[in-house]
């Protein structure tokens, strides 16, 4: 079985202050896999995700693709097109849940009926139909995260970069979020997830990366689904995609 690298970035350096947050590290993500990125507070997980998303300018970084190596700056547009970055607290635009989903529809503007049909599908997919007309800013943290995931699903991005997607959620909200993440993975999206609570994502993940001292230092391939107490009932057993 061959695996296609969806994104490979080398020589990633970023310094906000001393010491540097990221120092000459590299990451490789494969199509359809789910990678868990762990590390202490301030280790640089969010910074790395934002660099991969094309939102944070690194001091240096090289993006490797079929045609060779290009700088982050040259690749920024491609990175923005490839991925969707989900903030720890999902930002909701002013308007209803449906309005927020409409922002994720591919441009140029489609026919109104087509847009509405796609929004309806996204609402059904995320189980948001009952609150479609609710003001998005009145939603709970779990509902906001589901709207954010539905937006990512609608945008058809191949890579989803999720920053602490289940932080401050109650148990049912975490379960629903995990179910949606699993659905995204099943549909072939690549997921890179940072979390302080890796135990919740063990069943979902194919690999675990540790970010320490500015570098991705260890790759832990052996993840045991038995260790995940919050495993959703409909989540299928761990599917190993890579041999690390």
């Amino acid at each position: 079985m061959t695996h296609t690298a969806l994104l490979q970035m080398n020589r990633i350096k970023k310094r906000f202050d001393k010491p540097p947050v990221l120092q000459d590290t590299e990451i490789e993500l494969y199509a359809g896999e789910c990678v868990l990125l762990c590390g202490d507070n301030g280790a640089g997980k969010t910074t790395l995700l934002r660099i991969l998303a094309g939102l944070e300018r690194p001091d240096t970084a090289q993006v490797i693709n079929n045609t060779g190596s290009r700088s982050w700056r040259q690749s920024r547009k491609a990175l923005l097109g490839l991925s969707v970055y989900l903030h720890q607290t999902a930002y909701m635009f002013d308007g209803s849940v449906s309005d927020n989903l409409a922002h994720a529809l591919p441009r140029p503007l489609q026919r109104w009926q087509d847009s509405q049909r796609q929004i309806k599908r996204a609402l059904d997919w995320a189980g948001l139909g009952a609150i479609a007309k609710a003001p998005a800013r009145s939603l709970s943290g779990g509902e906001r995260q589901r709207v954010a995931l539905a937006r990512a699903w609608l945008s058809q991005a191949r890579l989803l970069l999720l920053d602490e997607p289940t932080t401050s959620m109650d148990h049912p909200s975490k379960q629903r979020t995990l179910e949606l993440l699993h659905a995204l993975k099943t549909e072939g999206h690549t997921l890179l997830i940072t979390s302080h609570e890796p135990v919740h994502f063990l069943a979902l993940s194919d690999r675990r990366l540790d970010l320490r001292n500015g570098r991705i230092q260890t790759v832990i391939p052996d993840l045991h689904p038995q260790a995940a107490p919050d495993l959703p009932l409909n989540v299928t057993p761990l599917r190993r995609k890579l041999s690390c």
Partner: protein, 233 residues
């Protein structure tokens, strides 16, 4: 007191009778001020966005300068442009002194810092994640900019109204650059100043009433829009 009541009564009669001189003054006032605000708004808001979202050398100095220009007297703007546009001035060849174009230039100089400073404050209140969410969902720079501005539209609208209020009522710059020529550069504030100096209060009050009604209407509109868009807490 009786004089004031009489003058106000005459002012209302003047307004309602469709006095051509009076309505010409009102027309010139709105034409000049609307032109200035239309020209200034987009570059000023783009400047405000750059100041609120990007780091670049001199950014803090620019913010301080625009804040300082908020309180610059209109006559100082008028004087500066007068020197530049007068026959011996750097821009003397343009022959713009005592024209509506010169008045528009003066009013742009007055409203630009207000739009930048207030726009900057409004845009700073927008969360950085609004811009990033728009970009990561596939919006190009201009669409993301539009979405962020839409998020703080009430703050930007307030900036627009404050800027318009400042220039439609300013007298110093318009008097120096326009020359108060009847049916050409005489606008509401310069006409009020002239009529008052002649002791003709009724026309001054009539024009003052127009300004008051306009200010009330614009503010009522803003409050109505803010009421509709109040975020859910």
């Amino acid at each position: 007191m009786e004089n004031l009541i009489d003058a106000t009564h005459q002012a209302i009669v003047l307004l309602l009778s469709g006095n051509s001189e009076l309505w010409s003054i009102i027309g010139i006032s709105f034409r000049v001020s609307l032109s200035a605000i239309l020209i200034a708004t987009i570059p000023a808001l783009l400047t405000a966005f750059a100041l609120s979202h990007w780091q670049f050398p001199g950014r803090r100095l620019l913010i301080t300068l625009f804040s300082t220009f908020l309180s610059i007297p209109a006559v100082v703007v008028g004087l500066t442009l007068y020197i530049l546009l007068s026959r011996q001035g750097v821009l003397g060849d343009w022959k713009l002194l005592f024209t509506q174009t010169a008045m528009v230039m003066g009013q742009i100089a007055l409203c630009f810092p207000i739009l930048v400073a207030m726009g900057h404050t409004a845009l700073q209140s927008a969360e950085r994640s609004a811009w990033e969410t728009a970009r990561t969902l596939g919006a190009g720079s201009f669409r993301a900019l539009y979405l962020v501005m839409r998020e703080v539209r009430f703050g930007l609208l307030a900036a627009l109204l404050a800027a318009f209020g400042r220039i439609i009522a300013e007298v110093g710059s318009s008097m120096m650059l326009g020359g108060n020529i009847l049916n050409y550069t005489r606008n509401i504030p310069t006409a009020i100043a002239l009529e008052t100096s002649k002791g003709e209060f009724s026309q001054g009050i009539a024009l003052g009433l127009v300004l008051l009604i306009m200010a009330f209407s614009l503010n009522a509109m803003l409050h109505q829009l803010q009421g509709r868009g109040r975020p859910v807490s």
